[in-house]
């Protein structure tokens, strides 16, 4: 029996376009099916008829006109082109978009710290203590941190943070370091609260306590690099806002209590009562003084940051030889390592930047492929 499928196969069979298996199948079927044999012969006749139609020649003048139009178009910059042929405004727009995207990425990558919001999440009681290298990036944020309004609180209460830092510095001459520290403290509007000097095993060392206004704290910590080699540095911040507010409230309560005692004293006439009230008044006054003292201390501590600087003279390698070969070798090694480290850091930066661009490039590639598809499909 002839079905649509067999008809399909017969047409391709006439063209010799069937594969081995299909052809064998059709031929087996033809041996038994009279209908299909007839259909095949009809199909063959039809194809012969259709193919007998003579090809048409292009008319006179066709080639000449094509040539004239081609010359109008002119010479095309050919295979060297690798960017899409877009109309002018599109080209400008896509170039602008590319520059914009790359610019945004560059800014994001080169920004020294993460988004500012990340640093806002410190709880009030938490004391942010940072040591070592990380401090370098944290230090610049210290001034705002110290005197910033508490977010989410309507009254603009000032943060009270006691900032302290311990820094060990190695210097060439302790006397020079002392002078420079004094200048640093004075330039920052602070002072040297304490200093001591000693010598152990012939190596002089000294310690200083600098008090500087909190807003200048970070700058002063950074400028210690200019004094000598910073061997150790730790920074500590203690948030005392709550304690401060609590002290103020307690002082207010005690003062109200004092007022009441005073009015009692006016009314009473008994000596024994007067004595008792007098005693209580003394106690309350003492407590008020002590609390205010504490508050003043906190206020002072949080207005002025405290830097403890330990200064030690560098130990000179005094070997008797003319040339200290070991030291030179050490310096060479240090220089070598530093260079390698810088190179690696550079490579890392490039790798990070490249990885950040991967999604953009992927998008661009997909867009480019789609564009090509679309353009080729239109041809």
């Amino acid at each position: 029996m002839r079905s649509m499928h067999v008809t399909d196969a017969l047409s391709a069979y006439v063209d010799g376009a069937l594969n081995e298996g299909e052809r064998a199948h059709v031929e087996r079927h033809l041996e038994t099916c009279e209908d299909c044999r007839h259909h095949l012969s009809v199909l063959r006749d039809l194809v012969t008829t259709v193919r007998s139609v003579a090809p048409v020649a292009a008319p006179e003048g066709f080639r000449a006109q094509v040539r004239a139009r081609v010359e109008q178009i002119g010479a095309r910059p050919a295979a060297t082109r690798w960017w899409p042929r877009l109309p002018m405004p599109w080209r400008v727009l896509s170039a602008a978009a590319a520059v914009l995207v790359i610019g945004i990425f560059a800014v994001n990558l080169l920004r020294p710290e993460g988004p500012v919001a990340m640093r806002e999440f410190r709880g009030p009681g938490e004391s942010p203590a940072v040591t070592g290298d990380r401090m370098r990036s944290a230090a610049p944020s210290a001034p705002e941190g110290a005197q910033r309004a508490i977010p989410g609180q309507n009254t603009l209460a000032l943060r009270r943070v006691i900032r302290t830092a311990q820094v060990d510095v190695e210097v060439d001459k302790v006397e020079d370091a002392a002078e420079r520290l004094l200048r640093i403290a004075e330039e920052a509007g602070g002072f040297i609260a304490d200093s001591s000097y000693a010598e152990t095993n012939g190596v002089p060392h000294a310690s200083f306590v600098l008090r500087v206004p909190v807003p200048r704290f970070a700058g002063v910590v950074a400028s210690l690099d200019g004094v000598g080699r910073v061997a150790r540095r730790s920074i500590h911040g203690q948030d005392v806002t709550e304690e401060f507010v609590d002290l103020e409230a307690r002082v207010r309560n005690l003062e109200r209590h004092e007022q009441r005692l005073l009015t009692f004293m006016d009314r009473t006439t008994k000596v024994s009562e007067l004595l008792a009230i007098e005693q209580e008044l003394t106690r309350v006054r003492g407590e008020v003084e002590s609390l205010t003292g504490r508050a003043r201390y906190l206020s002072n501590q949080s207005d002025l940051a405290t830097l403890s600087v330990a200064v030690r003279q560098k130990t000179k390698k005094t070997s008797g030889a003319l040339w200290d070969f070991g030291a030179t070798l050490q310096r060479m090694q240090a220089a070598f390592v530093a260079t390698v480290r810088q190179l690696l850091a550079g490579v890392e930066t490039i790798a990070v930047a490249a990885s950040a661009l991967i999604p953009v490039l992927a998008f661009a590639a997909v867009g480019w492929v789609l564009f090509r598809r679309w353009r080729m499909a239109r041809i």
Binding site: V53, P55, V56
Partner: protein, 184 residues
């Protein structure tokens, strides 16, 4: 000089080289356009558009496919564009179409049989017409047609098959007369 060399030189902007390519392919491409569009004016437009489009996009041609396949693809699409444009326009009065078909200056159209076949092909649905023209008039193989139209080979097969079925019905009265010598 072969196609590849001419294409390479055309890509450099050598219009003489491209003119040679046009000379090689003009009849085949015009024929193709003529069978798809059905008349000479449209065929001229479509074929010319195809050659210009090919020239403009020559830099995008990397020789992955043969130049002739690529050119066929462009020409088929150009012809289909013309057909579609014609369809969107108000219908051309029948006598005008007929006049262009029955152009007395056209020697090819003298023969009655040729005219019958041409009209039958022109009456096929576009997809089947293109497949039949590429196969039986341009002599392309199934794989080449699949490449030109960017469709699977099975689709090529069924389009040709269905097109022939329709032609068989339309040309039923011709078949016995022309096929007598072959069936034996």
């Amino acid at each position: 000089m072969n196609d590849a060399e001419l294409v390479a030189r055309s890509q450099q902007g050598d219009t003489d080289a491209y003119d040679q390519l046009v000379g090689t392919y003009q009849h085949r491409i015009f024929s193709l356009a003529y069978r798809i569009t059905g008349n000479r004016e449209d065929a001229w437009d479509a074929a010319q558009e195809a050659f210009l489009k090919a020239y403009r996009n020559l830099y995008g041609f990397h020789g992955r496919a043969a130049f002739s396949t690529w050119l066929h693809r462009i020409a088929v699409n150009a012809a289909l564009d013309v057909v579609r444009r014609r369809a969107a326009q108000p219908p051309v009065p029948l006598d005008v179409t007929l006049r262009s078909l029955d152009d007395p200056a056209d020697e090819v159209m003298r023969s009655d049989l040729q005219q019958r076949v041409h009209r039958a092909i022109a009456a096929l649905p576009v997809e089947q017409r293109v497949a039949i023209v590429l196969r039986d008039l341009q002599g392309l193989r199934y794989e080449e047609i699949a490449g030109v139209l960017r469709i699977p080979i099975g689709t090529v097969r069924s389009r040709i098959s269905r097109g022939r079925e329709m032609l068989r019905v339309m040309l039923a009265d011709l078949a016995p007369a022309s096929g007598e010598g072959r069936t034996a």
